[in-house]
C-alpha cells in the first residue's frame, strides 16, 4: 500500500485537509528578535524528554521510604543504562526550567502577552507553576538526605499563609512530618496529577499559539517576509532540538546525577545544603528576611511577596495598557529587568555564599 493510499484512507475518516489548511496558516515573522522564538519549542522538547525518561524510571522506582532509595540505586547501578536515563531525567528538568525562564522573560520583554494573547500568557504562567511543581514533587522521590530536607523546608514555608496554608501543606504532606504518606503523595502528584494537567495546558498553549499566531514586538520593524511554520520553521526548531539534545547528553554523561546518603529523619541537615537553582531566589529571600519585621512573621512576609508577585505576573496583560494599544511600555520593561536581575542575583548569591 503506497503512502497515497494511506492518505486517501485516512482522509475518508479524518479531516486531514482541514487540519493541513489550519496548520499552514501559521507564519513566523523574521526580525532582529526572532531568535527568541526557539525557546518555547525547546521547553516543549525537554518536557517530552521528561515524559519519556519519567515513564522509564517509573518501571523500577518504588515509592516507599524503605525501598525508594534502594530502587534508585538499583536503577543507577544495576539496570542497563539506568544511570543515563536518570541523568537525562534530572538534567532535562534543569534545562526545561531554564528554557521556560528564557521563553517567559523573552515573551515578557517583547510584550507578547498583549491583546489578543492574554490567554497564552495565562496558560504560560500556569505552566510555570506546574513545572516548578514538577521540580518540587520529584525532588523527594530519591529519598536521599538532600531530597528529604529540601522537602521538609519546602513544605514548611507555605504554612504561614493565612487560612489555607496549614491545610494545603497537610494535603501535600499527608502527615504531620515528612514520611511515607508524603512520598506517596509526591509520587502521585509527580507522575499522574501534574502530567495530566500539564499535557492539557501545554495542548491549550500550543493551540492558542496556532490560533493567534506569533507576536511581533511592539515597535519592531519587520522588513523580511515571514516564513511558514510548517515545514520551514519546524525544521529549524528541529535543529534547535538536536542541539538541545546534544547539550543534554553531554551534561548527563559528563556530570551524571549523584545520589546522596539515604535520608535519616533523625539526623541533622548537612551543612551548606541548598535547594535547586530555580528555588534559590526563594531560599535566599528566606535567609535574608528576619524572623519578625515590625511584629509581622518573616515567612508570612515572604509568602505575601510571592503571592503578590504571582498576582502581578497573572495580571500583566491586563494592567499594561500601553502594550495593549501597540505602544512601547518602558515601565513594564523596567519591572521585567528588575525581576530578572533579582532572580539572577539571588541565584548567584545563593550559589556562592
Amino acid at each position: 500500500m503506497s503512502s497515497s493510499h494511506i492518505r486517501v484512507w485516512l482522509s475518508e475518516r479524518l479531516p486531514l485537509n482541514a487540519t493541513e489548511t489550519f496548520l499552514a496558516a501559521k507564519e513566523v515573522p523574521r526580525h532582529r528578535h526572532s531568535f527568541w522564538y526557539y525557546f518555547g519549542g525547546m521547553t516543549l522538547f525537554f518536557f517530552c524528554v521528561q515524559l519519556v525518561t519519567g515513564i522509564l524510571l517509573s518501571l523500577y522506582y518504588q515509592p516507599a521510604p524503605e525501598h525508594a532509595y534502594e530502587s534508585i540505586r538499583t536503577i543507577v547501578n544495576e539496570t542497563p543504562h539506568g544511570w543515563l536515563i536518570r541523568s537525562l531525567h534530572a538534567w532535562s528538568a534543569h534545562l526545561m526550567v531554564a528554557m521556560l525562564f528564557i521563553h517567559m522573560f523573552s515573551v515578557f520583554l517583547m510584550k507578547a502577552y498583549r491583546r489578543p494573547r492574554e490567554l497564552m500568557w495565562l496558560s504560560g504562567v500556569a505552566l510555570l507553576v506546574l513545572v516548578l511543581g514538577f521540580g518540587f514533587t520529584g525532588y523527594l522521590l530519591p529519598w536521599d538526605t538532600k531530597a528529604y530536607f529540601a522537602t521538609l523546608i519546602g513544605t514548611e514555608v507555605p504554612k504561614s499563609v493565612p487560612l489555607l496554608g496549614r491545610w494545603g501543606v497537610s494535603l501535600v504532606k499527608g502527615a504531620e512530618s515528612v514520611g511515607e504518606a508524603t512520598l506517596t503523595r509526591m509520587y502521585s502528584l509527580h507522575v499522574i496529577v501534574l502530567p495530566l494537567i500539564g499535557l492539557l495546558v501545554v495542548a491549550f498553549h500550543v493551540l492558542l499559539n496556532q490560533f493567534s499566531g506569533v507576536s511581533v514586538p511592539a515597535g519592531t520593524v519587520v522588513k523580511r517576509r515571514p516564513i511558514a511554520f510548517f515545514p520551514d520553521f519546524a525544521y529549524r526548531d528541529f535543529i534547535a532540538w538536536i542541539v538541545g539534545f546534544a547539550v543534554l547528553l553531554a551534561l548527563s554523561t559528563l556530570i551524571p546525577r549523584d545520589l546522596g546518603d539515604k535520608a535519616d529523619p533523625m539526623a541533622s541537615a548537612p551543612p551548606g545544603m541548598k535547594p535547586e537553582w530555580y528555588f534559590l531566589p526563594l531560599y535566599q529571600t528566606l535567609r535574608m528576611i528576619p524572623a519578625t519585621v515590625f511584629t509581622i512573621d518573616g515567612e508570612l512576609i515572604v509568602n505575601a511577596a510571592v503571592g503578590a508577585l504571582i498576582a502581578l505576573w497573572v495580571l500583566i496583560p491586563f494592567i499594561d495598557r500601553r502594550s495593549a494599544r501597540g505602544l512601547k511600555s518602558p515601565l513594564f520593561t523596567a519591572i521585567g529587568v528588575v525581576i530578572i536581575v533579582y532572580i539572577a542575583g539571588s541565584i548567584l548569591a545563593g550559589y556562592f555564599t
Partner: protein, 149 residues
Amino acid sequence: MKEDQAGLIARRDVLKVAFGLWGVLCAAPVLGMILQYITPVAAKAGLRQTTLVGQSGDFAQGTVRIVRVNKDPVLLIHTPGGQFRALSARCTHLGCVVQYQETPVPHFGCNCHGSQFDMNGINISGPAPRPLPPYQVILNGSSVYLTRV
C-alpha cells in the same frame, strides 16, 4: 434570563438554571468526599503519648542525644549536674533537625538557615521565631520516658 413580550421567563431558561443547580448539588458532595479522603487524618492519639527512649545509664552526663518520639527527633540533654531535659530537635523556623554544637559555647544550631538556640532551647540568633518546644522527662526507676508538653 430572557423574557418574552409578556414579561414571562421562558420555560427553557428555567430548566437550564434548574439543571445547572442540580449539577452543582450533585457535584458538591462528591467533591466534599474527595476532599475528606485526601485530608490526612490527624494522629491525635499519638501526640501526647509517653515514649520510652532508654535507660538513664544509656545517656552519659554532659551529653546530648537525639532520640525518636512518635517519629519526631527530640534532644535529650543529660546535664553535667545529672539532670535530664528534653527539647524538640525541630527548628522552629522551617523544621530542620538542629545539631548540638560545642563551640564557641554549647548551643544548638540549624544548618538550613543558620538559626541558633541556647541550651535551654531559647532562640538566640537567625530566623527561628520561637524557642524549641520542651518535652517532659519522666524517670521511672532507671527508665527514661518522654512526653510532649
